[in-house]
Point group: C2
Chain length 347, copies 2
Amino acid sequence: MTSTIVVSEGLLKRYTAKIFEHAGLSADHAAVVADALVWADLRGVDSHGVSRVGFYLNFIQKGVINKAPNLRVTHDTVAVQIMDADASAGAVAMGQAVERAVEKARAVGLGLVLVRATTHTGALGYYTQQLAQQGMIGIAYSASIPMMAYHGTRVAGVSTAPLSIAAPGALNEPIVLDMASSIVSMGQLNQAKLLNKVLAEGLALDAKGNPTTDPQQAAIPLPFAGPKGSGLALMFELITSLLVMNPLVSEFFSGKPGGRKHQQNACIIAIDAFRFCPEETFRSEVARTVATLKNLPAREENGDILMPGERGHRTATDRRQNGIPLSAEVAQELADFGQAAGLQKPW
Amino acid sequence: MTSTIVVSEGLLKRYTAKIFEHAGLSADHAAVVADALVWADLRGVDSHGVSRVGFYLNFIQKGVINKAPNLRVTHDTVAVQIMDADASAGAVAMGQAVERAVEKARAVGLGLVLVRATTHTGALGYYTQQLAQQGMIGIAYSASIPMMAYHGTRVAGVSTAPLSIAAPGALNEPIVLDMASSIVSMGQLNQAKLLNKVLAEGLALDAKGNPTTDPQQAAIPLPFAGPKGSGLALMFELITSLLVMNPLVSEFFSGKPGGRKHQQNACIIAIDAFRFCPEETFRSEVARTVATLKNLPAREENGDILMPGERGHRTATDRRQNGIPLSAEVAQELADFGQAAGLQKPW
């Protein structure tokens, strides 16, 4: 039996932030991390939401996430910045990267910020959506330690290489693509395990590297379109991790102490869209393109034709109004963390 | 029965260039277009090589490709340029875009050039590889008129959205990812048709929009990972075509005269890698990452573990030395074009 607890966005953010504050993050940083997690819950991406609080707390306790990071700019031009995140919580460094990328794009039309040695960056759509809301084309990608099979191998050799691209929408709501280069995410594999739902073929390998459809055996997600998905993941490693001189794949397999420590490198790109195309024109052309696709004959009768991020936006609209449903397990876990922090359960 | 004719790289380039010159391109432009096509042949991407000469000549005769384009810069900052290609042959505008992107990247670390209203850009790896050979991270993507199904629809609604990313390699040979967002390319569908080879499931729709594995019926390639592949294609339309104010998808379905005319918009990004990471470090870390992946246990015993572009590079090395094999059909076609141009067949 699973029941759900429904919590309002604001309350969940404040409660989550208080938990992180108690764990040692500054009030500012705690609020930023809570905001990023609850954004994912709002959009229905529960795998990247407050279900991760325990995972983050564990990192904070172990020092994997640095409670008081010293974010340093190591390279700076009018268009590019490299920022050493000093193992900050991902949302802290990425939030600053978004700000810097926008400043540069406002100045010269384009800004690129590379973030070195941060931790779990979460749902990248959170950042590109912020860029698009400021009139920018937003692009974000990141590299992490290996989780997905490299094509032709039987072990996790590359990250699942998330990529997000967002553009200002017809109205205020941007169009936000947010994808991984695996066919299904680790979160979806875990979900299938929980529900004991047989997987389609070609999605995952077991721990020994053999193809499996058994959700209990599935351990390693496979890249989409074979060499394409894992090639993309490798390129993200080369053009982020190697560029900021913090290789993750080769260190992971090096046998060195610390080589398998959780960390990520990431990149944020902002293009000042309305500098090149008048805002009104851009927005009306987005509307026209969307309408064109939605008017095409659907694959299945009355089937939905969705834009990137549309389902998430719908869910967010609903959850902003009606609250965010948390599974009993996640709610209990949060309540326990809250209690340990001397907080009263808010539901 | 098919036999092949083997031609040297240099000879094939010169002969192809002469054909384009006779069709009305300047000697410079003809050489550029021939170089791009023969590069694809060298790499074994025959679908983007001289087999396209007829397709290009047809475009030149119809005025779809402008023989004497007036390439104009419409926007320019230290980091960004928008260039109106005036329906130039793709390789002409893209070659200039590569040069400009490198100039900007040398100046401020990063350059982005948007190319408006060009024609078939060919294999994007040709351009990103040039960037990587100059010490740049190279990224290129393009948008064209619809060819691939948008997820959830039964018609071609978006382009196959090629994306290429290249990085300087351990030695001189860059690592070059060059992919489309369809599972298989139009070229591969045509190849299956020729060989009457049954397709795997989930690769294509027939002309009526129904899934098919019959190579003779397959008409519309499907995106990889459903909404991911077609979402990427839509985003490329928004962040290239709309940004340069030359929408392709909505115009295609608008019913307007000229709405279905062949054209493309594209983007080239250069990041000055060695400004941020010393060349020696970057190259040796690429070598270490590649060696790490190649040492992982292979999926199949003694199976190859390939890097992006590695097979193409091997083929190019072989073909540079031993010549480029052309099918009898392609050789005959070229000979016919050559004859019409008053050229002697070079084989």
